[in-house]
Symmetry: C2
Subunit: 120 residues, 2 copies
DNA sequence: CCTCGACGGTATCTATTGGTAACTGGCTAC
DNA sequence: GTAGCCAGTTACCAATAGATACCGTCGAGG
């Protein structure tokens, strides 16, 4: 009943990572940084409507997890640059497997939902 | 700045699917049903502590998405059996790509977190 | 007749999270 | 002087996740 030994353990670290992947913004940050470092506002503008508070939270968590680095240039006006670490970059592959699956199955899922909702 | 044309669109269906993947329980239900259909209580007991309400929500959503089927046998006591659809089963592959990545990088992430938390 | 337990859930409440709107500080340009 | 830029922070609110308790139906046991 267990995948690789611990997927069903509530304290399983793998689950924590799944939470990150599932996090709406983390994935978008990774994809945004694919092609190079970006500043805070560049990320904010590139990703759709994201509240600065939420973006900050996401970035701090990703920095803590070692997925990105945060470099502060104490200039005026301030400049903060976010860069994918090698580990962060290695996430692109798994993410695209998921998004490929998603894009392949979107039509089927939409159809299933319509069938489910119809009788109501 | 866009992955495959729409990953950054808030209404993008791919994002909806990512939310499902990221959902703590959906993944565990898929993995639980890998080896065959299960009843509600079997799922509840197999997956760690999950509130019945939350499990019900998860299962309904997955049924709506066409990932599982729900068969009700109006016996006494009632019997409800959940089964992976082919589409649901096809999720196992992408999921294991993610969990493989996660398990590979758990040590590095843990180390990164410790380094981040230490100075405080 | 009365209670008990199995099953597959609801009902109700609280805690956590996601999100909005407004504000900060230092400096520069108008 | 005041308006704006950057990179956030703070105060606040709404939606969601989750824990706990309860429900109805039925047969078994006393």
């Amino acid at each position: 009943m267990v995948t690789k030994g611990n997927a069903f353990d509530p304290n399983c670290p793998t689950r924590t990572i799944l939470d990150r992947i599932g996090d709406k913004w983390t994935v978008l940050v990774v994809l945004s940084l694919r092609s190079g470092p970006l500043r805070f506002t560049e990320l904010r503008d590139g990703i759709g409507r994201v509240a600065p508070k939420v973006l900050t939270q996401t970035l701090r968590r990703m920095e803590r997890d070692g997925l990105i680095t945060r470099e502060v240039y104490p200039e005026i006006p301030p400049r903060v640059v976010y860069t994918l670490t090698p580990m962060g970059a290695s996430l692109i592959e798994p993410i695209s497997v998921i998004t490929d699956w998603a894009e392949t199955h979107v039509p089927a899922i939409t159809r299933a939902q319509q069938r489910y909702d119809e009788p109501a």
